[in-house]
């Protein structure tokens, strides 16, 4: 998986910084997902259809940073983007549950 500018943003975060803004982190996750979808040359409608969603509005909801990728479709979402599901989930955990990610993988693995 490519290392994006967002990963660098995480690496630079100070340990003493206040609790990260969940909304802001979800937006970063959304930007990353949007970029990965563009890399896979899929539109929001294409991805929604492949995930079995009737409308592409939920893809937009996630990419706009208002919602998370639900755990139950995380694997399928990764595969449709041509990414390895484990690495995909681990990367999203960094945005969605940064403290959990730090505990599981340590700060150096970002």
């Amino acid at each position: 998986m490519k290392r994006s500018k967002h990963q660098d943003v995480f690496a630079e975060r100070s340990a003493v910084q206040a609790a990260p803004d969940a909304k802001q982190l979800r937006k970063l996750a959304g930007d990353w997902l949007k970029q990965r979808r563009a890399d896979a040359e899929l539109s929001q409608a294409d991805l929604a259809a492949r995930l079995g969603l009737k409308y592409y509005t939920f893809i937009s909801q996630v990419e706009n940073g208002f919602s998370r990728v639900p755990t139950e479709i995380m694997g399928a979402w990764a595969r449709e983007l041509g990414l390895e599901p484990g690495a995909f989930a681990r990367h999203l955990l960094m945005y969605y549950e940064p403290e959990m990610h730090r505990l599981l993988f340590g700060a150096e693995s970002k």
């Binding site: 609790a19 803004d21 969940a22 909304k23 979800r26 539109s43 929001q44 409608a45 969603l53 009737k54 409308y55 592409y56 509005t57 939920f58 893809i59 937009s60 909801q61 996630v62 990419e63 706009n64 208002f66 919602s67 998370r68 639900p70």
Partner: protein
Amino acid sequence: MSVVAFERKQDNGEWSEKELSTLAAAFGAAIARGSGRQWETATTENGDAQFYLLGPLPEQACELCVSRIGGRYILEDGCGRLLFEHRNLELVALHAKAAVPSTSWLMVRAITLWVAVRNAMHEKVEPFLVEGEELFVQFAPQLAALA
């Protein structure tokens, strides 16, 4: 001959003021009652309007989302579950209002009051109970001997 000017329905682009006021009115109670909820708008990559009802801090995650695609209004929850869809926004707004996750304000007040009363009672009654228990422990052997 008189011509009735029908309002043209918006099919694409940003929310019209009328649409926004309909949605804001539907979610008004949820937003206004100090729940910490907010709403925001955004668009899909095709420029379809989206209205998000966000939960309280710190998460501020989407609880409900209303989108307009080709003149059709789509109501989804924050997990992407399709709750309702229709061409009539008022109808969708009605469903949206009913779908707002609610911890009833009245229920919260009632629970808070109950806990406060229970604590106050506990503080006042506990010394008597402890005293009674001590007395019972003292006199129990004598009562047993008499029995």
